[in-house]
Symmetry: C2
Subunit: 337 residues, 2 copies
């Protein structure tokens, strides 16, 4: 029997934290003890793991005693405060917040792309932004073949990326509108039901949102190539699960749609869904509940030399967050702990 | 008292035809008699115009006798068959279908952009594709200032662009899902409720949809510049009214976001909605019921020389179809009939 590990999930009652617990079970991660941590609000709440009900505890300074691996998904401020403490206690942290992602000595990992960079960790490994993860899973194998010059991406992001309250808001607003009642917007600044919001995360001085710059900066760090030009427009759509992305890529060398499909169909974590004659293309509702990143609608962009358009979809809570974090933990125990 | 005209609307019971009747009334178009035409299915149906109920008649070869202006929105095959007959009867046709748009001797008109081209008409004037109209309204004034090199556009299109049945389908599917029932997809090949479909109109040999190539070819024709590179990904979202577009533009000359906002705020038919500090940006739900094209989120694209990103929204049934057609008719009677 292999070694087993004490694992903690910080933010276990959130959309991503909850999925982390499910992923640990589904992927048969060798968990000895699982400690579920959250804010005092959730203290005493029960979450099922391997058929047993585990009790959620309030996250505090002593929560990480004896923990080997801590998965964090409780927001940036919790990570900033408690991730270093978890490391001091001897745990390796896989952090889903944006708190440490751009720190030079924190590896930012998508296992299919740059698993090797885990080697340099100093206790904290960052899990990238959801929209970034699914994009780099697809871009990396293409970059290795034809070198990417520039990417223009527009996203169609599900409300689950904001959290459980946003899912409730979409549900409530939709229900109200179907009954011809007034709607209320609390989580988002405007109605999301039957609408589209070109606004994810906070706005910065240059007019971009933080989400848009995450896609630029994180992609370069994960791909380990700061010469790639990237520009992003990130948009919330009234979808519960699954981020979709319209991605236009300009390469330095020639690459045909057929060649791209061939490369992608052989790359890990990818399912090519690209048979438009049969109306087969990636859909949010098909990606939901899956760990693969789906890619399709691959076609030559005639407006530029060596250009391709493609449509990339993944489950933002799974591959975009929880699954990716657990995959990192799998590599950690396989090679580094 | 000015001259009055006999007007026909072919396809009067459709989403766009119905809006054409409303636009004629709202814009106080000098209508002498209004003839409402549709398929035999709608024969005898009543539609209100200026407080009176008009009866819908079955469209036939004699429908255009005595008609000065015929607005067509009954699909390409009806236009192909009956528009030439309407012209023979002495009417000028404004056709909302794609049947004649790319014919060299048919002007393709967006009044704010190329009203002068109406002069060359031979009886038929084409109304462009909805996604194209709102994009060129914004691009033209910027093109005049800094010359556009290349456009990468991804759309977020409302179901009303497909017609009334698609609106019913979104409504029904949403209702079913909220009651945890199975959904049925009839109008679209996949579920549209809480989903996103990267598929509008039919697929062509090169992997693009017809809608995507309309945005390429119609934009060049309307802008009268075949050197502009354009690539499009057109996507249906679960929104009833209002197409949104993420538009990335590369110019030949320098243009700052401030300069672009200045130019656009002085151009006709445009409302600049761009104060992200106050969460003000164009929204489908705000564009619905309006004739202006909204533009915002204008920001420098650092991934390319002279690049801008922007977010363009308009009511696809109004400016994207009915309003634009009635505006063309207004120019016709003002200058050409």
């Amino acid at each position: 029997m292999g070694k087993e590990y004490n694992v903690a999930v910080a933010g276990a009652t959130g959309a991503v934290g909850n999925q982390m617990v499910l992923c640990l079970e589904e992927r048969v991660f060798p968990v000895k003890n699982l400690r579920l941590l959250a804010s005092p609000r959730s203290d005493g709440k029960k979450i099922k793991f391997r058929g047993k009900e585990l009790t959620v505890e309030t996250l505090n300074e002593k929560s990480f005693e004896g923990i080997d691996i801590a998965l964090f998904s409780a927001g940036g401020s919790v990570s900033k405060e408690f991730a270093p403490k978890a490391v001091q206690s001897g745990a390796v942290v896989v952090d889903n917040s944006s708190a440490f992602r751009m720190e030079p000595d924190v590896p930012l990992i998508v296992p299919e792309v740059n698993a090797h960079a885990i080697a340099g960790h100093k206790g904290i490994i960052a899990n990238p932004n959801c929209s970034t993860i699914q994009m780099v899973v697809i871009l990396k194998p293409l970059h290795d073949y034809a070198k990417i010059k520039r990417v223009v991406v527009s996203t169609y992001q599900a409300v689950s990326g904001t959290g459980l309250k946003a899912m409730d808001e979409l549900m409530e607003q939709t229900r109200s509108l179907l009954s011809f009642k007034e709607t209320q917007a609390k989580v988002y600044p405007h109605r999301i039901a039957f609408n589209v919001l070109p606004h994810i995360d906070v706005f910065l001085e240059n007019g971009y949102t933080k989400e848009e710059l995450k896609m630029v900066n994180e992609t370069r760090k994960i791909m380990e190539d700061y010469s790639i030009g990237i520009t992003a427009t990130t948009v919330r759509v009234p979808v519960f699960f699954g981020h979709s992305e319209s991605v236009n890529v300009e390469f330095f060398s020639a690459i045909s749609p057929d060649k791209a499909r061939e490369i992608l169909s052989e790359a890990p974590g990818i399912r090519v869904v690209d048979d438009v004659g049969k109306f087969q293309y990636p859909l949010a509702i098909d990606a939901a509940g899956q760990d693969d990143t789906l890619v399709g609608r691959i076609r030559q962009d005639e407006s530029v030399e060596h250009g391709l358009n493609m449509w990339i979809v993944a489950d933002n809570i799974r591959k975009g967050a929880a699954t990716n974090a657990v995959q990192i933990a799998e590599i950690l125990i396989d090679k580094y702990i």
